[in-house]
Symmetry: C3
Subunit: 400 residues, 3 copies
């Protein structure tokens, strides 16, 4: 018999899964209850429930203090509606950078909107705009679930969190505790690549994601992810996403006139593990992306930001709950990351495409939890290549 609970959860959206809990026990929304795949099937008293999270950050660069910044990073409000015992509707509104208008820098977005339908206790389907299950952060980024004021670089620059696509998915959990999720979705649009912007070098995939906004979809993408939690405290997983990204017609004689990279395929995969023995919280993750058939495209981009052929990153992280008192929990942590958003290019020699150096970042700091809903964070980040980015970060976050 299985050693772990195998009833599948409502969704891979962790906060949503916990949304029903508060009604029953206001102050005891345990982190366990927020785990994907483990929330109870029973509908809450009211079919419509709410969840939310938010983060405010203070960043002070050591060498350029005049660039010190305070930002209301994000405020998220989610609505979950239990349409029937087996069907659930989840929507999530996100407001980034406080103010959105034609003259402001903020963004108001639908981060998720999907319908989920469980076939039985072990298998479910969903359709709509949902998060792609690669890595830890993309699925689970409420402030109390990760260490440090800022999300790690590997899961923002390489895995383009928060990364969502429109599509259909089947997911479930086996009796042996193996969770799985496969799907067919919209993908990236290489036509959005902007040679005059450095965005493509900061995060190649985030610069060409489509987010369900008039997403070009002549080509669809597919993904698969697995996660094994057969032993308490352990979570070992991996995922892969792949799809063509030019969205042009197949006939090259007419329809593709003026087109570049007609065969370009984007593939991203990751492997990750987390182990939480006693007061320890240990994690490691590796992610790698490739974009094929960019040789000709990079000729056209010559002199600007080129499209990389490969990009990758990994990190290892250790945290220890050193102090606990009433509502308070203090957990110092350290994270070491290596990442490169352009570790290789495909381009003729004359274009002069030279790979970037691997950036290496050490982040040390602490999370102070205040109950299950609030966290104060402080950390210092040291960069090995671009030292002008060394900085102090302070943050406050909440989730409910």
């Amino acid at each position: 018999t299985p050693a772990t609970p195998v009833a599948i959860a409502a969704s891979t959206a962790p906060a949503a899964a916990a949304a029903s809990a508060p009604a029953v026990q206001p102050t005891a929304t345990s982190l366990a209850a927020r785990e994907p795949y483990t929330s109870p099937l029973a509908a809450p008293a009211s079919p419509t429930s709410f969840f939310g999270y938010g983060e405010i950050s203070y960043n002070r660069p050591f060498r350029n203090q005049s660039q010190t910044q305070i930002d209301v990073r994000r405020v998220v409000l989610g609505v979950s509606h239990q349409a029937s015992e087996r069907t659930r509707i989840v929507t999530e509104l996100e407001f980034e950078h406080a103010v959105t208008s034609a003259d402001d820098s903020g963004e108001a977005a639908i981060e998720q909107v999907y319908v989920e339908h469980r076939l039985n206790d072990n298998v479910g389907l969903k359709g709509g705009l949902f998060l792609i299950p690669l890595g830890f952060l993309n699925l689970k980024h409420e402030p109390l679930t990760y260490y440090g004021v800022e999300r790690n670089f590997v899961e923002t620059a390489i895995i383009p969190s928060t990364w969502r696509e429109v599509g259909l998915s089947a997911f479930g959990v086996s009796d042996a505790g193996l969770r799985w999720d496969i799907g067919m979705t919209s993908g990236f649009d290489l036509n959005k690549w902007d040679r005059s912007s450095t965005e493509g070098q900061e995060s190649p995939l985030a610069s060409i994601h489509q987010e369900g906004q008039f997403a070009r979809s002549n080509n669809l993408s597919a993904y698969a992810a697995v996660s094994w939690r057969g032993t308490p405290g352990l979570d070992v997983g991996a995922g892969i996403f792949s799809g063509k990204a030019s969205h042009k017609l197949k006939d090259p004689s007419t329809a593709n006139a003026g087109q570049y990279a007609s065969g370009a395929r984007i593939t991203l995969w990751d492997a990750h593990a987390r182990w939480t023995p006693g007061n320890w919280d240990l994690a490691a993750l590796y992610a790698r992306g490739t974009i094929t058939d960019t040789n000709e495209l990079n000729v056209q981009l010559a002199g600007g930001t080129l499209v990389p052929k490969t990009f990758f990153g990994w990190y290892t992280q250790a945290a220890y709950r050193i102090w606990e008192h009433g509502e308070y929990q203090l957990s110092p942590f350290a994270r070491y990351e290596v990442f490169n958003t352009a570790s290789g290019y495909a381009a003729p020699a004359w274009v002069g495409a030279s790979p970037l150096q691997d950036e290496k970042v050490l982040t040390t700091g602490a999370n102070l939890k205040v109950g299950e809903n609030v966290v104060l964070k402080a950390d210092i980040q040291r960069f090995q290549v671009d030292r002008s980015r060394d900085r102090l970060n302070l943050g406050i976050g909440y989730q409910f």
Copy 2:
């Protein structure tokens, strides 16, 4: 004695009216309960209730597949607050195309915000930003209430759904089952007409609507609508909206220098009928709009998009609930539409204004309802004039 219930409903906003229902019977929010004018007067347990709906669509043109698109069309969250037994406050937030920012194509809008006050069981007043009661779709556009992935052309290109104005309204229902709604509101602004855009040809009124956003209102508009549902399954109605659209001063000697179309009046009317005997759902609608006094204005617009004098459209539609099993209901349908956004112009001959051809569209497909809250849709659309628009549409929608 009347054969039908005559107590007026909370509002012409159908989703809002149903918002209180889920608290009592989560999975049984019948479509009947969403009908305008028929929701119960009793306040829900909590005075603040929520409702919502959303749509995601996939459009694949047959002749230009590289333009295939996936879009999170809209996600709507509504809040209804029962201030007292007789007074209710309704707000509705709409997020279109997933992402709104200075660099994105989405839109975050207040679709409705009004206060409703019932004088007695048969008459109510409301004030604020509300939907104009012309046609079927403008009042009732939750995905489960109409057939096809896309809203029909007549009720988007001719009646500019979702069309709302700021104003005051009186509405009610007679003992004989005649529902009525009259009001005075803000109107269109012909100064917004853009000769360099084709938007005015896609939907003349949608290109100059004001949506309660700094709406020019030197002239106000008025409307009246009636709907008769004296026989179960039948809904026969008509409506008219009319108002001046230049918003200039009356004295032509000074204030109107440089003004065009000072006397322009916009009038739109429709007549519609729906009959639902047994498993059938039959509907037909005709709508016609006119803009007067545009002769001089079109001289100034010569060479660009002109303002039409007349525009119209009609459709007829039949659907049949062919299969039902548990939560599932399958309803194939066909709809034939004829519409013309510029069937006539007022302009001197040298301007060369020639009316457009009537476009004729046949839409055939099916809606698959999953419970009362979720629908999957598929259809094919064939255009008689512009065949490059022929396409396959797939969609998923929800409402609660």
Copy 3:
């Protein structure tokens, strides 16, 4: 022993404080319950509660009626989550001018997001984006809490309502009924001053506020406010906010090359009193701001909008509840304001900086309350200097 309740409230956010009330007594959300500092400590039945308010206005200038406008000024939805008996999370979303997109004039903003933690019955802490406690309106601007369709000029042009900053605050109430609030927050950014816009002359501080959106914060600001309500019906208070606004490095030799106004400090203070004996509601307020070290900066701005050295305003207002019947309450009022957004400049003589004239505005009208949640407003405004602004205002507002 104190004559007034001294238990501190959840927050200086009045609407939020009342959010839990409706669940218990839908139609009896008294204004008293919305008072800052006096809401009960007890958690509501559900930890997540909602509040909201909104305003729609009609403005008709007497001399330029073609500029008549209707606008959905704002629709606000707030969410309050009681994380524990002592900890509360408050977020407030605001939608201004109905429609927000890259092509529209609206704005979707996070007006507040903060976490509040009470140390004991008399002292609390909060952190996040919150309202600065100067004047009456900045903290309390729900439509039923003030007279007239439009907010007064002193508390929009001088005190830049709605004014929020990111920071930390301590607040409380003494046994003698003295409420206090001190904090350290982000501040203004003088680098945002736009010489080519008149915005700086309409409201100097509103034109350079940062609203928690990538707020430059090399310099922080501080504030302190007190309010005494020891006698029923009386509220006497004052507040001051001050901080540097250039955010540059201290070393003038290198880092400040090209910088102006490196030492500029912005200070704003106010004193206010309100007395509500019987049916009367009497109020007065004075506010004054200064910006130092602008001499050199104004040389660079010469020919455009200059930065003022001083700006100020005051008003006195009287309202009387003349009629009451069932849900209805009618209160005529008059308000006389004097304000000047640029009463003095610091600039060399050749720049030709001449102070503006004091503008004097008389507003007379009435508020008609319909229950505790809805208000209809009408008033006329007469301007002494710029008579072209004389106008009729009509409005409808709600709060819950």
